[in-house]
Structures are given as C-alpha cells and as structure tokens.
Amino acid sequence: MTDPEGPERRTGGDYAPSPAARLDLFQRAGGIITPLMTALLAFLIGGFAVLVTGHNPLKVYKAIFLGTGLQWLIPGVGDRELQASNLQQTLLIVTPLILTGLAVAFAFRCGMFNIGGNGQYIVGSMSAAWFGTHFAGLSGVPHVLLAMLAAALAGAAWAGIAGVLKATVGAHEVITTIMLNWIAYWIGSWAYGLGGPLQDPAQPSVPISQDIAPSSYLHVFWGDPLLQGLHIGFFIALGALVAFWIVLNRTTLGYEVRAVGFNPEAARYGGISVRRNYFLAMAISGLFAGVAGSLDVLGWEHRLNVNDIQGFSVGFVGIAVALLGRNTAVGTFFAAVLFGALVSGTSGRHLDASIFRPDLAGNLTSIIQGLVVLFVGADLLILYLWSIRRRLGFGKRTAEEEATAT
C-alpha cells in the first residue's frame, strides 16, 4: 500500500486544497477590523436588497434588533419582561451555534473544513433523544450526563468516519462530510417517520419520537420552563469555548493539531503523526456538534420529529459563525451571538410583522449569511481592505503581505 501522506499520491484528497490550507492568512489578516467590516458590508448589501423591494432597511434592522431582546442589557426602557423572554430565546439559539461554530473551527485549525456539522448535530440529537427516552429510572444529573455523553460520542463517531477516511485513504473531508450530512438526514427521516423504528408507538400517525423523560431535562435557570426559558446548556456552551481554547493553546494535542493545520509536511518532519491528528481533530469537531444536538433536545425540544430533522440548519450557520469568528474561541462567541440574534430576531415569534414579514426576514438572514461567508472566503479582498488600513498608517506591511496582496 502506498503511503497516503506521501507527496506523490493523488487521491480524492486532491479534490481542491482544503480552505483551511490558507489558515495562516485567515488568522493573520485583519484582527477584529476585517470581521467587523465583513459583517457590516454584508448587512449593507442585505439592507440594499430590502430597500430595492420597497421597505425601509433601517426600520427593518431596528425591528429585528428589538426582536432579539438584546436591549434588555440596557436597563430602563420598554417592556422588561418581554425583552427578557426574547433574550432567552436568542440565547437558546446562540447556545448550539457556539458549539457548531466550534465544530467547524476546531477542524479548521487542523487544516480541514468540516461542512458536516449539521449531520453530526442530527446524530447527536437522535442519541440524546434515545437516551433521554430510555433509562427513565435514573435521577437527573446522571441521566443528563449519560444523554450528553452519548450525543458527544455519536457526533464524534459520525465525524470520525470522515476523519478515518481522510487519514487512511486521503478522501477529501468536504466531500465525505457533505455525504454524511445527507445520510444522517435520511436516517433521521426514516427513524421517526411513520412505521420507523424510533417513532412514538403511542401516536402511530405522527412522525415524531417519544418524549424524553423529565429526569433528562436540562435545568431552566432563567425564565419559565413551560415557555422555553434559558437552560443551563448555555453555560455548557460557554464552558466548551474555554475548553476549546485550553485544548488548542495549552495542550500537546492542540499544539500538534495547530502544527498540522499550519503545515502538515513540516509537522510530519517534526515527528507529529498527521493521520492521528486528522482523525482526532475531526472526532473532537464532531463531539462539539453532537453536544449541540443534545443541548437542544434536553434543553427545550424534548422530542424530535421528521420536520425538525429535515429543517435543521444550525450546523450550516455554524460554518458562517466559525469563519466570521476567525476560528478562535472569542471570535466564535461573538459571531454566534450575532447570528443567533439574527435568526431569533427574524423569527415569526419575535419580529413585528407589521414592519417586515418574518418569512422575508428569515431569507434575509440566509442572504447575509451567504455574503459573510463569501467575503470571509475572499482573503484577497480582506487583504486589500487590510492594506488600505495599513496605508492609512495603522501599521507596517510585511513583504509577504505585499506579495500576496498584489
């Protein structure tokens, strides 16, 4: 057998260099300024689309902002209770977005692009739903931990398939994770579909899972548990941000992962097993997405149906989150808040329909998300903007940047 890590080998892995190969550029270019400019530009163009279709973009953006409940942070104005409830819903969306963002970011730091967050999220939710339904005899904490652990392992295993294929035969992770997304999508549709193995036998005509046992619910610490208050999973997501930072920056594993991400050849020369790190980084990446699925199921969904499975997009939004957040813990947090607020603020429940139709706004979210990813991907554009900033006297250009920018 030939060595998959040998330079001569041409495989499915040659299907385009991974975007993450430009990692250093993504990391270097522009600190906090370029992500801000990227987001602003995207909102500007999105606003233009709103304007062209005959609405006032400022009013629309203001209505979306008011729907997010973020104004709760500025005390003293308006209906505090409504704002609090809106903010709870926003943070409920931010919670899984942090984790799916980390799922993309972790693989990225190892030089891989994990588009499969959605599939990993689906298998995570399904495992959490299964373990939440069964073992009803357990008391709260062990039951929750069991379900979360199962979801984490399921997500890790699902992404691990892509990791193994990358490490052993060099199959490109973008292709394999796309395929795994759709396999998870159809398996979920089968499992909870009519006559499916996990469908609730008590209601044979509804494509839905059984309800999970109350012992596996995550504790709601803010708001009314019956009205989807904010559950402690939010802190688990924040903890995951810290864990992400520590693992990447303060452990041998993280050092190796980053080394492989920067330059696999050099890492191998330095005695690091590239294959092992490809697999581990993918598995850890899937672990984050799997936990995201468990938090949603245990925190507020409490059951899954086929429409949920087919409508999940949190794994895809995670791509935009990670890219805008430059694959760092802090960046991922802020980007998750931005996109979480956008998703929540445009939802039918929060957006004032007399100003802008929520279903229009939902599509505006997709447009903005697409524009953000488009601009983040265009590192030349970023470097160009960066060079303008430098020309204005904010810093010195290196010779290397000069070369890349021209």
Partner: protein, 402 residues
C-alpha cells in the same frame, strides 16, 4: 490475417479481465433480477447460483488488477444475493406492485434528469479547475427564476432563458470570487448556496406571498412517442418531458465538445495544468469564467425542469440536496460525461425504487433508506475501495498570472 490470429484475438477479447469483471456485475444484477417479476423465481437456489458466479468473476478480475470492476462485481454479487433472496421471501403480489419496469424506467429518467444537467454543469466547471459546491444554489436559482420568467413573459422557452441567465449570474459571482479574487473555491461555493437559498426564498415571498406560484403558468411540454405507446417495458417513456430528452442531447454534445474538439482540449488543459496552458497562449481566466458560467446555466436548467416540467410550482428550497447528489454523480462518474450520466441514472433509479417500494404498506417505512444510496455509494467511491475517483489535477487551485 490468419484464422489462428483471429481466434487468438477473439480469445483475448473473451477473457479480457475487464469483460470478466463486467460479466460479474451483470450476473450480480441477474441474481436479484431473476427473483423479480416477470420471472419471479421462487427458489433461493437461483439467486445464490448467479451471485456465486458474480463473486467468482469479480475475484478473478480483482486479482488480475481490475480493482474497480472486480470489487464492483463482488459487491454486486453480495447485494444481488441479498436482494434476490429477500425477493423470493416476499409476496409475488407485492413484488408486482413495486417492480413495474416501464414505470420504474420512466421514473428513473425523471429523477435523473435534473441530476444530469447539474452534473454536466459541474463537469465543465471542475474540468476547467474550479470546484463547484454551489451547484445546489444554481439549480435553485433556475427553479425559481425559470418559473418566474415563464409566468411574467408568458412562455416556457423564455422561462428557460431566464433560468439560465439567473444560474449564470450566480455562477458569475462564484467565478469572480474564485478566479479573480482567488478566494477559496469551496468556501465561495458554500456561500453561493446560502445566497441562492436566501435570494430565491426572499423573491418568492416578496412576489408571490402566501399564495405561491399561480397555476396555469406555461409549462415545458411533454414529448409523445407514438410507437412506444403499447410496447412493453418502454411504454413508460412514451410520454416524457422534453427536458429529459434535452438532457441526453446536452450529455452527448458535452462529450463531443470536451473530448473531440480543440476547445474541449483547451478547457481540460486549463484544469490539469494551467501554467502550461497559459504558456501556450490559452487565456486561463477566460476559459474558467466561461466554464463556470456555463456550469451555472446548465445546473439552472436542471432546476428549471423541477419547477416548470415536473412539479409545476415553486417551493422554498425545492431542490433539497439534488445539487449535492449531482456533485456525487460527478465524483462517482470520475469526472467523465457518461460516467456522471451513469451515476445519475443509478441515483435516479434508487430514488424511483424508493418511491415504488412505498406502494407496499409493509415496505413504506424502510423505503426511505433507499434515499441514502447516492451518498453511501459516493462515500465508498471516494474511499477508493472500488477504484478511486481521481479529480482533474488543478481543481480547486486558484491560478495566479505571472
């Protein structure tokens, strides 16, 4: 040529390893087919005998170095045995409800057509060296703007033109970012998918609101083949949409263009070695722009067939992953026109079968699992277990002029 030489040639041809492997695949299919209507053998002996033959041929071919065909035959043998044995256990009545060959054939073509358009589109883009993850979005653009054009301009031909323009414009965005700005092509393709989802959804609701697209919009017509009407087996194709036949025309034309003309050679050379192509005076950027825009137009035609030829209306995100199946078909088909078409047919068949299986109540639930086949098969193909798919050498690598 002497008689002996002719005999020797004939013998070589017969025992050519590849032919043995292909025969194995045929035997594997037969193992399953023999147990299905109209033959519907009821004894498990038949599938087993055929499957053993298939595995034998496959093992011979694989040992002699024809990995893809050989392992394909072995896989076909096992799958054929499983399918065949399962069929002998199933009720004849149920089998007859599912395996209506003429209906299956027609449904296969219907499901394969959008995939064929998009996969051929992807072929142009990727053969020129630009990865196209954005096929899904380009199909969606065609699906919406096509039916919009047919509605506003009152004519399906103009609708198709609008679809092609919309898909081409989205592809132009992808092309500009990945060629001129040298953005990462996978990220750019992902972005284009989000954009198309948002743009079509936004425009759909803004223009048509809750009522959806009205009925009575000019549709792409069916083609009626009189001679096939009462012929068994092909009776189902007597009345098929024009776009289905057009997709086959596009397939052949693409093959001729890419592999039998100097322009095709230029396009492929840009995808294999852009520096060399540049050196001999080929305009690398120009070729890539042309190929990517063409890919968007073709994918959009596939999407337009969905809305204007099949469903006769538009729903948000109505392509539900067909662009990714098309990408899978392109990869599984090893970046070759007929390979991609074969894969599209295979994937179309698996979907058609899933729907036919749901006619029998007992099989309705599990039939959904057949929808995973395109993705599983592609995973196996990129894993290289049955012969690896090797992409064009320069695909995904931005080219920088010197």
């Amino acid at each position: 040529m002497s008689v002996d030489a002719v005999r020797a040639n004939l013998r070589d041809a017969l025992f050519e390893v590849r032919s043995v492997g292909l025969a194995g695949i045929v035997l594997g299919v037969a193992a399953c087919w023999i147990a299905l209507p109209p033959l519907a053998a009821r004894s498990v002996v038949w599938p087993i005998v055929f499957a053993l033959g298939a595995i034998g041929c496959g093992a011979y071919a694989a040992r002699a170095g024809e990995n893809r065909v050989g392992w394909g035959a072995i896989a076909a043998g096992f799958l054929g045995a499983v399918g065949g044995i399962a069929a002998t256990r199933a009720g004849v009545h149920n089998l007859e409800a599912v395996f209506v060959w003429s209906a299956l054939l027609a449904a296969t073509l219907r499901w394969a057509t959008p995939l064929t358009f998009a996969a051929i589109g992807g072929l142009f883009s990727e053969r020129s060296g630009v990865v196209n993850i954005g096929l899904e979005g380009m199909m969606l653009m065609g699906a919406f703007w096509g039916i919009w054009g047919a509605d506003k301009l009152g004519n399906w031909i103009l609708g198709l033109a609008v679809a092609a323009i919309a898909g081409g414009l989205l592809a132009l965005v992808h092309a500009f970012f990945s060629i001129h700005l040298r953005a990462d092509q996978i990220v750019s393709g992902t972005a284009v998918n989000f954009l198309a989802l948002g743009i079509t959804g936004y425009a759909f609701i803004d223009i048509y609101g809750d009522a959806g697209t009205p009925s009575g919009i000019s549709e792409i017509p069916d083609v009626h083949l009189g001679f096939a009407d009462d012929t068994p087996l092909i009776g189902g194709i007597a009345q098929l949409n024009l776009m289905i036949w057009l997709s086959i025309l596009v397939l052949v034309a693409s093959y001729v263009f890419l592999f039998r003309t100097p322009w095709g050679l230029r396009l492929r050379s840009v995808g294999e070695h852009p520096r060399a192509a540049d050196t001999v005076g080929i305009n690398v950027y120009g070729v890539r722009y042309g190929a990517v825009v063409l890919s968007g137009m073709l994918a959009a035609l596939g999407g337009a067939y969905l809305s204007m030829g099949q469903v006769h209306s538009f729903n948000q995100n109505m392509t539900v992953g067909r662009g990714f199946i098309a990408l899978a078909a392109l990869i599984f088909g090893k970046w070759r026109p007929f390979g991609a078409f074969g894969a599209a047919l295979l994937f179309g068949f698996s979907t058609a079968l899933a729907f036919q299986l749901s006619n029998v109540q007992a099989w309705e639930s599990s039939s959904i699992l057949f929808r995973t086949i395109p993705y599983v098969v592609t995973l196996v193909a990129v894993a290289g277990v049955i012969g690896r798919s090797i992409p064009p050498a320069a695909v995904g690598r931005p080219y920088k002029k010197q």
